[in-house]
Symmetry: C2
Subunit: 406 residues, 2 copies
């Protein structure tokens, strides 16, 4: 397999040359369908904790993800022309069936997803028209996926009335199978692969050498902790790629926008999403100091998130066998300019983490926590200029290989 296209982004460029080769990936197993579906859909309870059910804030209120996801959505401005160009060039419209199926994996309550599905369906329709298939425009069907605990009610009530597709919601973890074999023509996922299926178990075990004492994330922690997170990330992204490979038709495309951090950055002069986690962690420690809860409570709290670096993501793709890489580049996110003040930034972090925090610390600390958070942001001039946010996005376009070709 050859890398067919690689362009330097118009934006922040981290790696001038990323050579990608696709290697092996586990083949489709012959597990009985009943077991396969049961496994991929069910949640696992470990140590009394329901794994994989943390989701962003539902509803449409002031603390909802719908009202506080401009940061995550901003990336679509940059990705739009790239997606349109790739669909125009790479989409195989010769062998489509009477239904063209698209899925967004990790759609939340739809605020950013609807914009992406509009771009994708309109681009596909234009491609079909350009290729003279006007009389055979298929019906589009979009599958909006997120975890079972996602607020699908808000998603469904927010669906745009004018749209090119029939809509459906698919509940379940995208680290497993969600759709029938070879039924999907276009897969999309934006700002979601940073979520792990679970916090690495050993990080929360106070008898383990990888116990993450005093911190809520792996960055800046001991190297054992970072390694545990990284291992989990690799396992999770591989499971995602393998599941989508089973769901995609041969020739089907997959566009991924993956939040990441540069391998080297100076936390004294620039911040990334990691900085947010550190501030959140320090606010939790402040509350522990004030006696709101014990420090051990903070020790046992860890974010199920990992921001990859391009080199790590490249290595994961290198081990996959089912796709050809059509495009890979680093893009910046103009969404960061949509959070001008400390309160906006606190609301954005709250919309993402409130449920996780409430599950662990109780809802009574949330207002105080984010009040403290906004104060810390306001106190640092570094955060007041969005240009200092050096979080990056990796854009990847993959094509499913023919099923008999590995």
């Amino acid at each position: 397999m050859k890398m067919k296209s690689f362009r330097a982004g118009r934006y922040l460029m981290i790696s001038a040359r990323i050579h990608i080769r696709m290697l092996s990936c586990q083949s489709d197993s012959n597990l009985r369908i009943q077991n396969r579906i049961a496994n991929s859909h069910s949640s696992t309870v470990v140590g009394g904790r329901m794994l994989g059910q943390y989701v962003t804030n539902g509803g449409d209120g002031p603390n909802s993800y719908a009202q506080n996801s401009s940061y995550q959505g901003g990336v679509l401005e940059v990705a739009k022309p790239i997606i349109e160009e790739e669909i125009s060039k790479k989409l195989d419209v010769k062998h489509h069936s009477s239904t063209f199926r698209i899925a967004d994996f990790g759609c939340s309550t739809g605020h950013n997803s609807f914009a992406a599905m509009k771009i994708i369906t309109e681009a596909i329709k234009r491609k079909l028209e350009t290729d003279g298939q006007t009389s055979h425009i298929p019906d589009f069907q979009v599958f909006f996926n997120d975890k079972v605990a996602n607020d699908f009610n808000t998603l469904f009530s927010s669906l745009p009335s004018k749209r090119l597709y029939y809509a459906s919601g698919v509940p379940g973890s995208f680290h497993g199978r969600l759709l029938p074999k070879a039924s999907l023509h276009f897969a999309y996922s934006s700002y979601t692969l940073n979520w792990l299926s679970e916090v690495p178990k050993e990080v929360e075990d106070d008898t383990s050498p990888t116990w993450n004492r005093g911190k809520i994330h792996c960055f800046g922690a001991r190297k054992e902790v970072l390694k545990a997170y990284s291992n989990q990330y690799v396992k999770d992204v591989e499971a995602f790629l393998e599941s989508r490979a089973e769901e995609l038709v041969a020739g089907g495309l997959m566009a991924l926008i993956v939040p990441a951090v540069p391998a080297f950055w100076n936390p004294n002069t620039a911040f990334t999403s990691i900085t947010e986690f550190d501030i959140l962690g320090s606010c939790l420690m402040d509350l522990a100091e004030k006696g709101r809860f014990s420090k051990a409570k903070v020790d046992s709290f860890n974010l199920p998130l990992h921001y990859t670096v391009p080199q790590e993501f490249e290595a994961i793709l290198e081990r996959s066998h089912n796709y050809t890489l059509e495009r890979m580049e680093i893009i910046d996110n103009p969404g960061k300019c949509t959070l001008p003040g400390p309160k906006d930034r606190a609301s954005f972090v709250r919309a993402v983490f409130e449920q996780l925090l409430t599950n662990h610390f109780g809802s009574e600390i949330i207002d105080e926590l984010f009040h403290q958070y906004a104060k810390k942001i306001a106190a640092s001039p570094l955060f007041l200029d969005p240009e200092n946010d050096k979080t990056i996005m990796i854009f990847v376009l993959l094509k499913r290989k023919p099923y008999d070709q590995k």
Copy 2:
């Protein structure tokens, strides 16, 4: 087209001979997809009232539909062997694709739907195995449909962990298109076609001769009111049949369980669902007498429900062109035996109507209303014996004709 099968049910038999002929039905229009989808999915606001958004009680609490739908679910006990027999005899498994798609139209929060989908998927799997297709068992995909306002969050969190299918939710009114053209292999709908898309407008217009003063339903009302309801019912069922005809593949099956009342019954010695509406109406009038709200408020409240009679339903099928009728019979519902006491019956009616009543009268009257309702039921010995409930169910199995054959 000939009626291929008609058996007298083992239960209450209303009509010894129902001759069904399928006649014309509007052909698939060439409307632009965008308009078609927008029209079929959007809700219509008439006179400030959101139409078609009334749903049963969500959640899983004591007043939820999930906890109070044993009546509606009871019918499945009787329908199960019929559905299994029909799938075994009539399902064409020669030309299925790699995915077998099933939809339940009007699934509510899934309590009864999951049981039906289990029966259907297991029967199809057995049929495929019997026909020697063991090596080509397709993936099953089930589409759970209900209105946009339905509690899909509860539906998704209640999905059985062991199931034979990939699950998805489809929001929208089943009186319009919901799925791509010719994409569905098996359609199912139980205890749903009694819901109208809207209350006939003229029934709520106090300047119209069909104004339904003093009552909340058409039965027992003036014949103009009954006619208006009947017209709406016919229009709605035709729209349902036409939409499903576009969604079903040629040869695809549709099983319908339609609540109905005998054309002739004596309200002094037997009751039906209609009786429930009368009692609910009289309780509302009692509250109006007590000054809780005006009598005009009751005059302007009408249930968007119609219970057909076999003759009416037969006439609708006679005008449809897209299906062959494979089976039609009248079945009784053992679910009625699951509501032994007045409070159970009040909870059952509350789970169905609470949202409608709250929208019109406000939530503060609900407890008092259903307390009154239970008292009225308790006061009448007629209701204490479920055998007096003469509500019937029409079971229909239809097969989609080839697309070029009308």
